[in-house]
Symmetry: C4
Subunit: 277 residues, 4 copies
């Protein structure tokens, strides 16, 4: 049929996002994903489930079928089939449709609802747009290059939580809600992160004194991850900017790339530099 | 009459703030705005409403009439009437007087009180002063240039909230206060942002373990927006300083702009530099 | 008498801290200040007050007399008497001794106890040591130079608090604890700053949705003051370091100070530079 | 016997981590440490203690004996015996085995459990790996070089806590839970650090107003430690990077050290530079 696009054109629409057809495909898909997530959320509210449960059930199946068609389409169109199926996006796409089919086989389907929420991960598709990719990779590389510092920080936090949890378990004891070291550690995390539910809180004088110390610690050490991320981001920004500024002047004599913006001659071989524009 | 200032002079007083008359106009207006906001706040306190309700009611009308006169004056004096009326400040000025007039027509006027609070936005007029404008625009441009990073951050936060909310809804269930996914998501936001009211808090062991993870996540990822804003501000500061330092010396021989502040001859072509003042 | 130091020597001991006698004076004074603060704190605990009340009362008078003698000594020794008396430290020193004397005259002396706590401000004397003075002035100048940005930030926070407080007062109403706009604003501050006591918390669905927005706002905008302070501190640090690095090479021909660290000849007049060491 | 490694080889396995045998030793030790910590934690949970108490008791002794052997081995193999025994790691290693032995002698052995938790500090051994050592020393030197600023910050926080605690004790009084100044100071710390348990919260209008101020203060001054740490880290990063980049090229003619990475001739005396590798 002449109405249908060729397989190559279809693959372009599905996998790229640089012309109007492929961009519309992405936008419609995104809207469907958001709607399907909304269905899962609304279905969990008692009132809505009782009144519109059947309607939401069929809507759920509608989205499942649409996403299944899309999933099969992506496998069919992909040049690197195993790369897609076992890659991050392939698994996310599968997780979005699997729970509905499993609910037909399994009886206790209520636990599949959690996995339905993983459908939200599909929104990460938006990150495939070039402008986001660059920013996200900047963030991730910033975090990666300070991995050792972050591990030390996490280790310190866990040590504080364990030691302070144990100490509070001894000081306050089960009669004040600190029924075990794990629970006391839960309290220590609630306190160190400055969440402070108040479901468990110290009642003895010594306990309140120890709690004050852990609070001040938590208040202070939040500066460490912030400092790490900020210094990495500032560094990455300066670096990317410097390379932006200097990359356009290339010596044709010796291929040296990074020239001072006002250089006229190559500082290495003396060849006259040409402007890139 | 000779007592009244000319329309041009009046427009200057109302719209500019560079001489004593126009500065006084701004200050008196600001005081009136603050007083009118105070009236709205005081009127909401039961004791004060019962004792001084009538007085506050007439005060409210006094401010409404003053602001209406000012609004009409601004329209009359503006060179670009639609620009003012449909601009940010025009709409804010209108919103400050509209509720009072609408309360005459509508019966359920209590809901108009919210809109009365929007009157506080008029204080933003202070930002029209040149020294604030520059700083605010620096902040806004810093936020704008890291828009993509912020969107990724907000997306991640919402994904964490949805997934963790759903998981906690399954783990804790309605018997522990997690009555629906939206409510569990509300809890996840309360926890991730380290607010921690304690109106809903996990009771099961697994729930407390999951809550600990979301708390530590919230404690850590606050570093990301901070890092973004800081690196942008540091960058903007460096940039504005560099341009401050170098902008004034331009070589008339080769048009090279960025000269060291104490340079006497152009470093590129040897022409003697002239001072801009 | 020959045992007593001269007035000049005494003034040195009291006002300076560069030899052992003056340093010991500062340390003993600091210990006395800390002990006097401890007395005030301990006296507030019921058990301790009942058992040791009389002892603490006389201890209180001991400190008051010591500090009074020190206060009079400082006035007598000062070269600029009004400068000391009406300066920051003079007022703090007076506030530390005044409440005790006033309690003899006034009947309701319990309210004077608050002012007794102001005695703790005397610890700021430690900041007079040169190493602290430099750091503190760096912090203060960093905050000062970003005053306009901080004012905008505080203005935004107050606007959010007022608008969100009013909105929540309408949505939740007095039946959920939001009894007036001021109380709703108190809740908004508790939430925006991520403190989250839970003494007032939203119960309606719409209220919880609005609360989620204000929480996320609070979580995000904390990045702004952090960014401002950090960028100012980084800037101040770079500046002070640069001036440290360059200050030692001075051209004897034209008195130009800031030379590149490896410069051999003055870039302005060609005189050969000499090393400062 | 030929099966046993020499003392020198054993010392290498125990103290270094640069070949497979010594790395495996470290990993097995780390696993044992983690397991022994887990035993302490699990033993504190009522259900587990009642069912598996005896098993955990013998497991505890197993770890104690293993760690005792390791401790004695380390002393025997060390070249600097007092340096190990009284150093940080020696004391931590001793604290990990001491409580079990003391429980044989002492009756009230339950208080020794806290000290058992100190065993977790042994995990810090992981920091002896070269890659962590470098990062940790960077963090510590960053904190050290801003010690004066941090002391000023801590001093300010304690002053705010004392003054605000005293003020709230007077305003709210014992009838609202502020039973003494120490307790009011505990509340002030809970509030300033934005933890906000809600076990004590202000009830009077004036108290809520003061609480709002302390919350906003806490929300704002968290920017100060963050700013300090960030500016130090950024500074340390720039410095270490600069020295990385420049350290390897030294001119043999004039001993100038900092050359641009691609420089071929010394920019000061024209001597040809030699590569360090």
């Amino acid at each position: 049929m002449t109405f249908l696009p060729s397989k190559k054109r279809l693959a372009h629409i599905v996998y790229e996002s640089d012309d109007s057809a492929s961009k519309n495909f992405d936008l419609i898909l995104l809207a469907l994903i958001l709607l399907s997530v909304l269905v899962v959320i609304l279905d969990s509210v008692q009132d809505i489930h009782q009144n519109y449960g059947t309607f939401l059930y069929w809507l759920e199946w509608f989205f499942t079928i649409v996403f299944s068609v899309e999933y099969l389409l992506r496998i069919w169109l992909s040049n690197d089939k195993p790369g897609y199926i076992f890659g991050f996006y392939g698994i996310v796409d599968l997780l979005a449709i699997l729970p509905a089919f499993l609910s037909l086989i399994l009886v206790q389907s209520q636990y599949l609802m959690v996995v339905r929420a993983l459908r939200f991960l599909r929104i990460l598709r938006i990150l495939k747009l070039p402008e986001y990719l660059r920013e996200a990779s900047l963030l991730i590389s910033a975090l990666k290059s300070s991995r050792a510092k972050i591990q030390i920080f996490v280790g310190s936090v866990l040590t504080i939580v364990l030691v302070m949890g144990s100490v509070m378990y001894i000081i306050e004891g089960p009669e004040n809600g600190y029924t075990s070291i794990p629970r006391a550690m839960y309290w220590a995390i609630v306190t160190l992160t400055t969440v402070g539910y108040g479901d468990i809180s110290p009642n003895t004088d010594l306990g309140q004194f120890m709690a004050s110390i852990i609070m001040l610690l938590g208040y202070a050490i939040i500066a460490v991850p912030t400092g790490i991320v900020t210094s990495e981001l500032t560094h990455a920004k300066n670096k990317s900017e410097k390379s932006d500024r200097h990359q356009f002047k290339i010596c044709h004599g010796c291929s040296l790339q990074k020239h001072s913006p006002d250089a006229i001659y190559c500082r290495k071989c003396g060849t006259k530099l040409e402007s890139p524009e």
